[in-house]
């Protein structure tokens, strides 16, 4: 089991990757589905960052990003798209829709 420091590091890695993936999505670089495929096939990640966030629950992701933003600054500011999804009840796998559809 990861200790507190390790957990903090894992979150920072995971959310830095997720936020960059969401920026790419916002800029129309690729679709959500293709971003996840690319990160699996090109970087060997076992799960795409967007699907992983959907699985965690976007409401949980949003709260954690707000904490990270407070502690480490703007680079963790939750993206508008994430707030909209959570506001619309599209909180991920459990809701049937998040960044992706289920």
């Amino acid at each position: 089991m990861a200790d507190e420091k390790e957990q903090e590091l894992l979150d920072r890695f995971r959310y830095a990757v997720l936020l960059e993936a969401v920026r790419c999505l916002d800029e129309g670089i690729s679709s959500a589905r293709e971003i996840d495929i690319a990160m699996r096939a090109g970087a060997g990640l076992p799960e795409g960052p967007l699907a992983a966030a959907d699985k965690t629950g976007l409401d949980v992701v949003l709260r954690r990003l707000e904490e990270l933003e407070q502690r480490w600054g703007d680079r963790f500011t939750p993206p508008g798209r994430l707030r909209e999804l959570v506001g619309a009840g599209r909180t991920g796998v459990a809701a049937g829709r998040g960044f992706l559809e289920y």
Partner: protein, 283 residues
């Protein structure tokens, strides 16, 4: 457009890897370089990949020979008159890439496609000087291409949709996974990955954690197949540095590696391929 014959320009490790992937799919491929020694090294590299496939029982010796026979290493443009796709894989220098591409364009049929395997330079910039930039695209293979399944298919400003469509079909034909990516600095995978890597380097300092402990934690968490330091070593620290500089210039300090890699490169440690990086490698 269907590709019946391909050429790879630049017989370095990446060029050789790409030529191997193409030959494995059954297509003839020319591996061209300006240096005879480099061609020999490239051909040897490809033979090595096939020999390992034979050792692992994934093909017979005869099959390996048949595939190997599809690769022609050469210095000149002989046989380029029926090449449908030329992929450039020379060092990441804009002037060099442009010169190589302009020269090859004059030796290809008018209908041929030309691609760059750049990971750091803008496709639209490399295209400048080509007579037909509409038939030019980015095909970004990942290292090592013989293992990595993904190819980013990138259209530049002047690229035709038909050209990117053909690029996607070609990638599927050589049994790789194409993902269409709109042109942007770093493209998709390296951009997203380097954002994570830069954050890990910052966290290492903030939290006072050892790289080996970080790698163990990341691997154990199931977030990534290996830790970020091992991954950077596998990617090549020089490549990571080059890509991160492009990204930092384009998007700002979230891509700052904090000099974490620069020091190692200065000591000649360029990752697994050089025998040392964050870790030491033998054999």
């Amino acid at each position: 457009m269907y590709v019946f014959k391909a050429a790879v320009l630049g017989a370095g490790t990446m060029g050789a890897e790409i030529a191997q992937v193409i030959s494995l799919s059954g297509l003839p491929v020319i591996l061209k370089d300006v240096d005879e020694k480099q061609i020999e090294r490239g051909m040897k590299h490809i033979r090595g990949i096939y020999a390992r496939r034979v050792q692992r029982g994934r093909m017979t010796e005869r099959e390996a020979e048949d595939h190997m026979a599809l690769v022609t290493g050469q210095l000149d443009y002989q046989g380029f008159s029926d090449v449908d796709l030329a992929i450039e894989a020379v060092p990441e220098k804009l002037d060099l890439k442009r010169a190589v591409l302009q020269e090859v364009e004059g030796n290809l049929p008018r209908t041929a496609l030309i691609a760059t395997n750049t990971s750091a330079l803008p496709v639209s910039e490399i295209a400048k000087g080509l007579a037909k930039p509409s038939r030019f695209l980015g095909l970004h293979f990942f290292f090592p291409a013989s293992v990595m399944r993904l190819v980013e298919v990138i259209g530049g400003e002047a690229t035709d949709e038909e050209t990117t469509d053909s690029g996607v079909e070609f990638v599927e034909g050589i049994r790789r996974i194409p993902v269409r990516v709109k042109e942007c600095p770093g493209f998709l995978v390296n951009r997203v990955l380097m954002a994570g890597l830069a954050e890990v380097f910052r966290a290492e300092l903030d939290l006072g954690l050892e790289p080996s402990r970080i790698d163990a934690a990341v691997a154990a968490s199931g977030l990534a197949p290996m830790g970020p330091y091992a991954l950077a070593d596998a990617l090549g620290l020089d490549i990571a540095q080059e890509v991160s500089e492009t990204l930092r210039a384009a998007y700002g300090d979230r891509f700052d590696l904090g000099g974490r890699i620069a020091g190692l490169i200065a000591e000649g440690k360029r990752g697994a391929k050089s025998g040392a990086g964050f870790y030491t490698y033998t054999g």
